[in-house]
């Protein structure tokens, strides 16, 4: 917030905070709507993941103020996170294949 907030006693900064709050609220409401309007599908899951990342962006960029830090700090945080995001995606994708090979769901009929 720094310079901007000092000039007008922080009014602009506070306005921005409430704006971000309403964006987060609206996205959560949309997620709820999709949870009940759409059947479970690849599309619905993708929509949820995209909206989650949008929410994460607003929290990190505005609330945690990362957007307004210097570039070297922004990249120090974003690059490792980008790798871990890729890792999550890869593990879930590959994990599905690895576990497909094994009939892991136990057939619970062993009551004698």
């Amino acid at each position: 917030m720094g310079d901007m907030s000092m000039a007008d006693g922080g009014a602009a900064a506070r306005k921005q905070i409430w704006k971000v709050f309403f964006i987060l609220l609206a996205i959560t409401a949309v997620e709820f709507a999709f949870a009940f309007l759409l059947e479970k599908s690849f599309l619905r899951t993708s929509i949820f993941l995209v909206l989650t990342i949008v929410k994460a962006f607003y929290i990190v960029a505005e609330f945690m103020h990362l957007k307004h830090e210097v570039k070297s700090l922004i990249w120090s945080i974003i690059v490792p996170l980008a790798f871990i995001t890729w890792f999550i995606g890869a593990m879930i994708y590959e994990g599905g294949s690895v576990l497909d090979k094994h009939p892991t769901t136990p057939t619970i009929t062993n009551s004698k």
């Binding site: 506070r14 929290i59 609330f63 490792p80 999550i88 593990m91 879930i92 994990g95």
Partner: protein, 265 residues
């Protein structure tokens, strides 16, 4: 060449590189940077939990039929909106995901009050910091209370329960064995909602997040009292509010992911 000259040369601030010392190259204090890097490492931990969740969930069969006909079974992973469909004081009312929606709202709201406290700190407005920190504390405590209710409800289970095989001690044979019985609720060993791992992951992931919220509430309380006792006025800087604020936003951020992975997908 005398040694005095040498000392002067070393202490000369570098004009060539921001990284040569004497400056904050990232324009952030040591404490703030360390908070960022701690949060990064914490993000790795939570990512590991989410990866585990993905692995285990997709190794179980998904439920294939119509949502309206869904029934709890060990044979498929439960649909979250069927498991989390209750509200306090409204027994028997079907309210899928409403309570967890309220919890999400409470946590986002407390993140907003936190960032307002940080903003007030920039203006060194002690009363405003106190006010917003109190709201943040209230939000955090409310969230924890909601989670306590959520866990209690999850552990207690439905009125009817589900007929299933329980692994338990049988008095007659003096041995452990499988017994068919009506089981209600959940433990780490079994649960009525679905495969054993479902409840295990629920307890572990929401529990680990809840522990973060709990630590956050303690830190927020510390900040509130320090503000009230004028510690930051004496210090001339409200940066501690900002550092703890970063932690609190991170807790909110993790919940956004837990909410999506555990309750929506």
């Amino acid at each position: 060449m005398s040694s005095t000259t040498l000392t002067v040369e070393i202490n000369q601030p570098s004009t060539t590189s921001a990284w040569a010392g004497g400056k904050e190259p990232m324009n952030a204090s040591y404490g703030k940077l360390m908070m960022w890097f701690f949060l990064l490492s914490d993000a790795f931990t939570f990512s590991a939990l989410l990866i585990t969740y993905g692995f285990i969930r997709y190794s179980h069969d998904a439920y294939e039929g119509a949502v309206s006909a869904f029934q709890f079974s060990q044979m498929h992973w439960p649909i979250p909106e069927k498991v989390f469909a209750s509200l306090p004081l409204l027994h028997g009312v079907n309210a899928p995901l409403i309570f967890v929606g309220i919890m999400t709202f409470v946590l986002i709201m407390s993140s907003v009050t936190m960032v307002l406290a940080v903003e007030a700190g920039h203006r060194k407005d002690r009363e405003a910091v106190e006010k917003w920190m109190l709201w943040t504390l209230l939000g955090g405590a409310t969230f924890l209370g909601c989670q306590a209710w959520e866990w209690t409800h999850f552990i207690t289970g439905s009125d009817e329960g589900v007929m299933m095989d329980s692994w338990k001690y049988i008095a007659e044979t003096k041995q452990y064995g499988w017994v068919k019985e009506v089981y209600k609720g959940a433990s780490l060993v079994q649960n009525e909602y679905g495969p054993r791992a479902f409840a295990d992951l629920f307890f572990f992931i929401t529990g680990f997040h809840g522990f973060h919220v709990f630590s956050g509430v303690l830190l927020n309380a510390l900040i509130f009292f320090n503000t009230a006792f004028g510690v930051y006025d004496k210090r001339g800087s409200y940066e501690m509010v900002e550092k703890v604020g970063l932690y609190w936003h991170f807790v909110d951020l993790v919940w956004v992911f837990v909410f999506t992975f555990f309750y929506l997908i």
